[in-house]
């Protein structure tokens, strides 16, 4: 979950814009998990997610002075993350075009799942979840998938999603409507997430 205390966050953003390194480090701590999850849900690789997290915050730090509306920090940060993701995917596509293998295959996800927990039961649950999630994502168009994840995984508002995707609120809502409808018609995923409250990491 991202930071809820928006007033405190706003103060930190304002301080960070003035060059306060401690304030920026606090923002880093606040948003690290959210940005890490953003990358992991798209790439299914812990190492790539951690690297891209660093890259996102380094770029954010470099460009912070250009942020004219401190209250839009969250959406702005996710825009930077999105562009880091775009650059990463571009490199991966080029590599695959030339026949180089990417680490982001199913084997890499298996490895992540196995390393995340030593408990075979938890590993099995995690593996099952990502397989079902992947099957669900296959039903979505790329745009629907991104809008859906930005809304329900990254917890961005419609306005923030529109800003991140350089889109309109109306277009975001239309894609989100389609994605939610597909989610509603994916009972195999419902059964799984309904039991999620009982699983502790």
């Amino acid at each position: 979950m991202l930071e809820k205390n928006t007033e405190q966050q706003l103060e930190l953003v304002k301080l960070a814009i003035t060059g306060d390194r401690i304030a920026f480090n606090q923002l880093y701590s606040m948003f690290y998990h959210g940005i890490y999850v953003f990358f992991f849900t798209r790439l299914k690789s812990v190492m790539d997610a951690q690297d891209l997290c660093q890259e996102t915050f380094i770029k954010a730090h470099k460009k912070l002075a250009q942020l004219d509306r401190p209250e839009s920090f969250k959406g702005w940060l996710f825009t930077i993350a999105g562009n880091c993701l775009k650059d990463h995917r571009r490199k991966e596509r080029i590599k695959s075009f030339f026949g180089f293998f990417s680490d982001n295959d199913e084997g890499a996800l298996e490895k992540c799942v196995d390393e995340a927990s030593k408990d075979p039961a938890k590993q099995a649950v995690s593996r099952q979840f990502w397989v079902r999630m992947k099957d669900f994502e296959k039903k979505l168009s790329p745009h629907e998938r991104e809008v859906f994840l930005l809304r329900f995984s990254d917890e961005l508002s419609i306005a923030e999603i529109a800003s991140v995707l350089s889109s309109t609120a109306s277009s975001v809502k239309t894609h989100l409507y389609r994605a939610v409808k597909k989610f509603k018609n994916s009972p195999e995923l419902h059964e799984f997430v309904e039991g999620m409250g009982d699983i502790k990491k």
Partner: protein, 174 residues
Amino acid sequence: MKNKTQHLTEEQILWSVVSDEDHPETIEHLESCATCMQTKANLMKKLAGLSAALHQMTPEAAIQPLDIERQAHQRRWPAGIVSRQVWQAVAASVVLAIAGYTGLMMRSMPSTLPDDSTVASLEFLFEDFSAHDSSLSCSYLETFAENEEDAGINELLELIMPDVNGTDWQPANG
């Protein structure tokens, strides 16, 4: 306007989940109908469950110290010698030459991968080409090509014809 004695349609429930601010009559109905409110709440609960699952099932990773000095994926261009455009033209020619060579090799010997030095050269060039920072512009959705087979070619074209007017690119010592 829908008759208040009728329940909301699936479409109306879905719209209310996406954003109810555009549909005042739906809000009005939901406020007075426990059945429809329950239908909406069930769907919202499942979406919240998915949201929790995505966070819970993401492998934990310890927060790493932020290395602000690191210039992530940004190699510097030799400064003061030639312009960025010239470097891009030279690099584009090399990419094309290697692309042609690699393409031929792969066609004639499908099981042979390029050697390590070719891989290193390509990775270097790709990093340089993508060193521009597009953080404040464009949607990243544009790279989600529906046709995966064309995606590599499209990306290569995008790389060898970069936006030379990009505002975020900085030459070394610039």
